[in-house]
């Protein structure tokens, strides 16, 4: 019995690994045939967005990983410098394709803070609703998507279908399916349509049913557990050192959530709790996202019940074509489904922004943290680890 156990706990002989020079860099001699270079991406079915990881392998174990980004660079921060503030709204939503509403909220919030603009109460509730719906549709893709990386594609089929139903509700509310441009400086663009709450409730019931089904399909699945428990472990001391935020930090036992810590909009009037785990592996991060999904459904129900049905939705603003924002700078943040998401806006007193800089969680997760986590990982776990960090390449390179 002991012998069999030892076979399964076999560790590769790491003395064959490449040596290091005095700077700590690996000396990888590819002509020795001991190592292989494999490019994971940019054209890879498992990558979320265009990103390449340059892997150096010894056998099937990763010795060195380097992230290469820039395949989606459009120069947003430069483009926004030559657009009016109102023209920046359709531009900035494209910064993160999967979850565009946080960009418009943060830009609107920056403008309001720089110009000391207060927004009406109804608009605050509608903004919160849109942000939570955005989180809901992202999580519907990413929670089963974690199993999709291990070829458990059934959950993805269900999740993408339900995400489409949420996108239909978005279309009804805002007119856009993926990009909404619903939040504008001073408020929002419209009130809830008639019967919206009932249709929302129908979709939420379907999603609750879906959670029961993915529990059976994914989270109780022994294959999924074997492939994810203990894989991609982030130690607690790395959280601050590597700038880990959001669900990845919560899975390591850090109770950090911008909605609780720095309440914005109406989150201080809502009753919710933040789940934490301490395992900090792929399975724990996956469970945290599943818990987020339940929290989000609960929050949407609360918003629907508590929100005022009519009222002012936009406070008066100057003519947007001549709107000179006072000189100053501000940093605003919100909690996206990936973690802290912030805009640093600098105004020089003209109609055009001086600089708008996006702080995306993937900037740290997908580059330094991923490169570190992949060392000594098996090549089959590479994109499982990558998806568990929920990397979003467009927000790294903008």
């Amino acid at each position: 019995m002991e012998k069999i156990k030892n076979i399964f706990n076999w560790e590769p002989d790491r003395s064959l690994y490449p040596e290091k020079d005095e700077n700590g860099n690996l000396i990888v001699d590819l002509s020795s045939q001991k190592f292989t270079k494999v490019w994971h991406g940019p054209n890879h079915p498992g990558t979320t967005g265009n990103m390449a990881i340059e892997l150096t392998l010894s056998g099937d174990e990763v010795v060195e990983a380097k992230t290469h980004v820039g395949y989606l660079h459009r120069g947003f921060e430069k483009l926004m410098e030559r657009r009016l503030y109102i023209q920046c709204f359709p531009t900035c939503v494209r910064m993160c394709v999967a979850e565009p509403d946080y960009n418009e909220y943060l830009l609107a919030r920056s403008v309001e803070e720089l110009d000391n603009l207060e927004i009406p109460e109804t608009a605050k509730w509608l903004r919160t609703l849109v942000l939570e719906m955005a989180r809901l549709q992202t999580l519907l893709r990413t929670v089963p998507g974690q199993a999709g990386t291990l070829s458990l594609g059934m959950g993805v089929q269900w999740g993408v279908y339900l995400r489409d139903l949420v996108l239909d509700l978005f279309e009804e509310l805002t007119g856009g399916r993926v990009y909404h441009m619903y939040i504008i400086p001073g408020g929002v663009r419209g009130l809830l349509p008639d019967g919206f709450k009932k249709r929302m409730e129908d979709v939420l019931l379907k999603i609750e049913d879906f959670i029961v089904r993915i529990d059976n399909l994914i989270f109780k699945n022994i294959l999924f557990k074997k492939r994810t428990i203990g894989i991609g472990h982030i130690p607690a001391e790395w959280i601050d050192k590597y700038g880990v935020v959001g669900p990845n930090a919560r899975a390591a036992g850090f109770k950090r959530d911008v909605r609780k810590d720095y309440p914005y909009l109406v989150y201080d009037q809502l009753d919710f709790d933040i789940a934490t785990l301490t395992d900090s592996d792929v399975y724990a991060r996956s469970l945290i996202r599943r818990q987020d999904l339940i929290t989000t459904i609960d929050l949407i129900r609360q918003i629907m019940a508590k929100m005022p049905n009519d009222g002012d939705i936009k406070s008066p603003t100057p003519n947007v074509l001549h709107w000179k924002i006072p000189k100053g700078e501000v940093y605003v943040r919100s909690e996206s489904s990936r973690g802290e998401y912030g805009f640093y806006t600098v105004s020089d007193g003209s109609e055009y922004p001086r600089r708008i800089n996006l702080r995306g969680p993937s900037y740290t997760h997908a580059v330094v943290l991923l490169e570190k986590l992949l060392i000594n990982a098996n090549i089959a776990d590479v994109h499982s680890i990558m998806v568990s960090l929920q990397t979003c390449p467009p927000e790294i390179e903008r």
Binding site: N50, Y71, R74, L79, A98, V160, V178
Partner: protein
């Protein structure tokens, strides 16, 4: 025979290349015609010949082939821009592109169509050209979104191209930012119609105007470190 075997063993035991499998060693082989060819299996070989125009076969055969091509469009799973977020809804039960014979493939060698889903950064364009050249002919290009038509909202960006048809031939444009899955399905129907009518001759067009396309590509890709043509 026995001599050969000994030689191989000796080769394996030489210290500098003991990890190289004997099949992968540079050596001279004799072809059935008696010609001596020096081969280095570990070197990358590219076909440096220019692409050629493939003349259509007789009318009836070509019609049959075009029908077959149109009914099974295999698309390369390469999301190049924002439009790739609409590919999962397209392939899942709600819109279900499998009904149209469309399915995704992981490698360019197996695909007959590529969806350019939105803007192309210069770094991606380089990979797209490489991928397009690796696809077997006949090949079709579906360009999504206004960014591929005239630059869309990135018309003044320093890192995205303004029009795709200067770099690779485009068969069908699907307008919108971003196009809905229904629009994409309509694009596929249009592409099928074009193939069945024998008008989807993108690969031949690329071969005909090869110098023009290469000139445009080299004008904007500054570090051209890939072969001019490779399959």
């Amino acid at each position: 025979m026995s001599e050969d075997k000994n030689k191989n063993i000796q080769d394996i035991n030489t210290p500098d290349d003991k990890f190289i499998h004997p099949e992968n060693k540079p050596r001279t082989v004799i072809s059935p015609e008696g010609e001596e060819i020096h081969i280095e299996p570990l070197r990358d070989y590219f076909l440096e010949k220019r692409p050629e125009v493939i003349q259509p076969k007789s009318d009836a055969v070509e019609k049959f082939l075009n029908w077959a091509r149109a009914e099974s469009i295999w698309v390369l799973g390469f999301g190049t821009g924002c439009g790739s977020i609409e590919i999962p809804p397209l392939m899942t039960p709600r819109f279900d592109a499998f009904r149209y014979g469309v399915q995704m493939r992981p490698t360019p060698r197996q695909s007959s169509a590529i969806i350019i889903s939105g803007y192309l950064a210069i770094k991606t364009l380089k990979r797209v050209i490489r991928v397009y050249e690796q696809m077997p002919s006949p090949k079709y290009v579906l360009a999504l979104g206004s960014c591929t038509i005239n630059g869309g909202m990135y018309w003044d960006s320093y890192n995205t191209i303004n029009r795709l048809d200067h770099y690779i031939p485009v068969d069908v444009y699907v307008a919108g930012c971003m196009p809905r899955p229904e629009a994409l399905l309509a694009g596929f129907v249009q592409l099928k119609k074009k193939i069945k009518e024998g008008r989807a001759e993108g690969a031949n067009e690329y071969a005909e105007k090869f110098d023009w396309y290469k000139g445009n590509q080299k004008k904007i890709i500054n570090d051209w470190n890939m072969p001019d043509y490779n399959w």
